[in-house]
């Protein structure tokens, strides 16, 4: 199908407005994109003389930045199919009105029965509409989050109780039950003699008893089925609610980088809790969102901590030749004059290398991060430690950093002399499972090996753990050796719960214990502790 420029412009507007409607998308096509699309389509049109639907889709995709091109393709396909349908409808000739070809003898009775038919039809429609309306209302009530899960659970529990009460009040079962009990008791207490000569009564009592037992069984099964139904409803509403929370989480993330998604819920914690229950595709998509948000947050937070200059954890100043004319503000006049005099240079021979600048720079530190992922670290603790570890990796990116995760075993993520993309590390962190015991000594031995490979004077060991170690003796031995080798040790522990005995014992060895409530504390406390331990 050949399209004109007018069609192309209409497509551009439809595409942009449709894309902007997508609340879950993090990309909003700008006016610049709309203009670019339009100009590119015009160019293709003037080059070839016509446009095709493929051109429209291709242009929509290539003018959208790569991470969102798949979404753009979906929107473009939707818009083009819609316009195709519209065109199809518009191009169809209007159907001719049917001519009255039936004799009145057939039509009249039909016309007479019309009100009844209409009534029947309307009733059907009405019932359909009301059921739809009901479903819509339930969905809306869940979606709006007007009733939280707890309220919902209370409501359903209340409903169960009231159903039981009603069943009791409606009486038959309970009355029959008590009657049955009384009669049985009577029979037991008085024996058959109380009813001697009254075999008929006894027989009646026995028959009544059997009947009552049957009824009781029936009523019990009724109550059971009711209970199951209510429980199923509770489960369903819970599932819907959690799905809604997830959706809300995704929506919030699009607004600003935040790890707090849902009421009081942490996005990362939600991820760790939910990841096993999600279908593969949703899991993949959610992981991408969590990773993106985490990276963004790490970037923002690291910038806040370090500022725009290069002052890092261990700030220092260095005097060196000017690297670039952009850095003229750092030129140290005294050092420059001294340098020029020592080189005996004339003014006409000066180059940028002769200008000396004093720049704040980060010390070259060797840092080993050990993250505990044992069973005791599950839940909130793991979340706090994971984010802290990720932020530290970013913050110390200019330094020599090694990173390993340990439980019963040690998993090396990054060696001290290795360059690993933060994306990959975050991928590994998101796949973390808190399992197994806590054997730290092997991780410490690995850390020691990493420090040996580094030539840096400043060597820092950061342990992110709740210190619930199995191998206390070995751990203390290795830690002692490390500290005597001038390695500074810091243990970041969750204030929620950690092994106080172990903490005090390693503190005696010289390891600084940093209690944190929140992952934000972890990094800032660590920085100030490191600075104070090196600079007093």
């Amino acid at each position: 199908m050949q399209l004109s420029l007018e069609d192309a412009n209409k497509f551009v507007l439809d595409f942009v407005s449709e894309f902007r409607k997508k609340t879950f998308s993090r990309h909003r096509p700008s006016t610049r994109q709309a203009i670019s699309m339009s100009s590119l389509l015009s160019t293709i049109y003037f080059k070839r003389g016509y446009l095709t639907i493929d051109d429209l889709i291709k242009v929509a995709v290539i003018t959208t930045p790569p991470p969102y091109q798949e979404e753009a393709l979906r929107v473009a396909l939707k818009v083009t199919s819609k316009s195709k349908e519209e065109k199809h409808v518009a191009s169809q000739p209007l159907p001719a009105l049917p001519t009255l070809a039936f004799p009145l003898s057939i039509i009249l009775p039909m016309l007479l029965s019309l009100p009844a038919m209409v009534h029947k039809f309307m009733r059907k429609v009405w019932s359909k509409v009301s059921s739809l309306n009901e479903t819509l209302n339930t969905t809306l009530s869940i979606r709006k989050g007007a009733t939280t899960f707890n309220e919902k659970a209370h409501m359903t529990r209340g409903r169960l109780a009231s159903t039981l009460r009603n069943a009791r009040a409606s009486g038959t079962t309970t009355r029959l039950y008590y009657e049955h009990k009384r009669v049985t008791k009577c029979i037991k207490d008085h024996g058959t003699t109380a009813y001697s000569g009254k075999s008929l009564s006894f027989k009646r009592g026995a028959a009544l008893s059997t009947k009552l037992t049957d009824r009781m069984r029936d009523s019990k099964s009724l109550v059971d089925s009711l209970k199951h139904k209510v429980m199923a409803k509770v489960r369903m509403s819970k599932r819907k609610l959690s799905r809604e929370l997830k959706v809300k989480g995704a929506y919030r993330m699009s607004d600003a980088p935040s790890l707090n998604a849902g009421p009081g819920e942490n996005l990362l914690r939600e991820w760790y809790e939910l990841k096993h229950y999600l279908p593969a595709k949703v899991r993949r998509e959610l992981k991408e969102i969590v990773r993106e948000t985490l990276i963004e947050y790490i970037n923002v937070y690291t910038k806040l901590l370090t500022g725009t200059n290069k002052i890092g954890v261990l700030p220092s100043h260095a005097v060196k030749p000017c690297e670039s004319p952009d850095l003229l503000e750092y030129v140290d006049l005294e050092e420059t004059i001294e340098n020029l005099l020592s080189k005996c240079k004339r003014l006409t021979e000066i180059t940028y290398d002769d200008l000396m600048m004093r720049v704040p720079e980060r010390g070259n530190n060797a840092i080993v991060l050990l993250l505990d992922a044992s069973g005791s670290m599950s839940g909130e603790k793991l979340v706090i430690m994971t984010i802290s570890a990720a932020i530290m990796l970013r913050m110390f990116s200019e330094d020599e950093v090694a990173f390993a995760i340990f439980e019963s075993d040690v998993f090396r993520v990054k060696d001290i002399d290795e360059r690993v993309d933060l994306n990959e590390v975050i991928d590994e962190l998101l796949e973390l499972e808190s399992l197994g015991g806590t054997c730290v000594s092997r991780a410490l031995l690995w850390a020691e090996e990493q420090f040996e490979r580094s030539t840096s004077d400043t060597r820092i060991l950061v342990l992110l753990s709740d210190l619930a170690f199995y191998d206390v003796g070995e751990a203390e031995y290795v830690l002692n050796r490390m500290i005597s080798n001038n390695i500074k040790g810091f243990a970041i522990v969750p204030r929620l719960s950690y092994n106080i005995m172990m903490a005090s014992s390693i503190e005696r060895l010289g390891v600084t214990i940093i209690e944190v409530n929140d992952w934000k504390d972890a990094v800032s406390y660590l920085c100030s502790y490191i600075s104070s331990s090196y600079y007093g």
Binding site: S30, R32, Q33, S36, S39, L40, S42, T43, I44, K47, I62, T63, T64, P65, P66, P67, Q69, E292, I295, N299, E323, S324, P325, D326, L327, L347, T348, E349, I350, T351, Y352, D354, L355, R394, F411, R412, V413, K414, D415, E418, V420, D421, L422, N423, E424
Partner: protein
């Protein structure tokens, strides 16, 4: 400091050689490359700024160079990273001249961007997303206004034929180094290049080994090895076309010397791939590469 005459002569010769080489580009303009080239043409006609995205070694820079050559314009390029400053793009003042003559035009040594702007040439910013935000922001003005303010001199306005192309690595795009929102909005067309199809890659390899004869079964083997690295889940950075060419040239030389056999192929492929491929942490690269090569040989035999 003065150089001996023969050194100056050699430098002159080398400069001339470089100029001639710039005019000889071996490119296979088929498939995705043809599409990308056409999109570059369309973008320029529409006055839009394109960015070419693709993994290392797919021929992004080569395509840009070819585009400049075909449109008979000067070609300037710079590879950006975190240490690149705006002055590397725009240019600097020579402090010695400034001290003797003041802030004058004579003291200014233009950078590649300024040169491309005033000559109306093609400027390629390689790995744009690796630059710091400070440097990225310096590009906003040339992209938006087609001009740049040079302190002490004034505003430089670009010629109409000035064309800016950015190239990027997709892996970096999703990760830590990302484009600022402002710059991303000023790049209008995103052209994706991936590893080419088998036939195109064969042609590229052949075109880059003009002095050798390469039988198709050898090419098939080379392609299989390289392709397996591109689909292996333990490999972060797979082998590029450059690796294919390197293996092909070494194999062709072995064929010429009559020393080519399976063992020789394994040795060549291993030595090229162990430098070209990057694996995920914790994966033994040597074992992985050996298994890939043996798998490729098995599949081809």
């Amino acid at each position: 400091m003065s150089f001996p005459t023969n050194v100056i002569e050699r430098i002159k010769r080398s400069l001339n050689k470089a100029k001639t080489r710039e005019r000889e580009i071996t490119i296979v303009l088929k498939g995705q490359y043809k599409e990308a080239y056409e999109l570059l043409e369309d973008s320029e006609s529409a006055g839009l700024t394109p960015a070419i995205i693709g993994p290392p070694g797919v021929g992004k820079t080569l395509l840009c160079r070819y585009y400049a050559l075909m449109t008979k314009r000067s070609f300037y390029w710079i590879t950006l990273d975190e240490s690149t400053r705006p002055s590397h793009l725009i240019g600097t003042f020579n402090p010695a001249v400034v001290l003797s003559k003041g802030w004058c035009l004579e003291a200014f040594e233009p950078g590649p961007l300024t040169l491309a702007m005033i000559e109306g040439g093609v400027f390629v910013a390689n790995e744009l997303n690796r630059a710091s935000e400070y440097t990225q922001n310096a590009l906003l003005e040339p992209l938006e206004e087609g001009s740049y303010y040079i302190p002490h001199l004034g505003r430089v306005v670009a010629e109409d034929t000035f064309f800016f192309i950015a190239t990027m690595n997709p892996q970096e795009l999703a990760g830590v180094h990302r484009l600022s929102e402002a710059l991303r909005d000023r790049i209008h067309v995103w052209i994706s290049l991936t590893y080419p199809k088998k036939e195109v890659e064969f042609e590229i390899v052949r075109a880059n080994c003009p002095e050798y004869y390469l039988p198709s079964d050898v090419l098939e083997r080379i392609y299989k090895v390289v392709e397996l690295t591109r689909h292996n889940e333990h490999i972060v950075k797979p082998a590029s076309i450059r690796s294919s060419i390197a293996i092909a040239r070494l194999v062709a030389q072995a064929l010429k010397n009559d020393t080519y056999d399976d063992e020789c192929f394994v040795k060549i492929a291993f030595s090229v791939l162990s430098g070209a491929v990057r694996t995920k942490p914790g994966v033994r690269k040597d074992l992985l590469i050996k298994s890939i090569i043996s798998e490729a040989l098995k599949q081809c035999n």
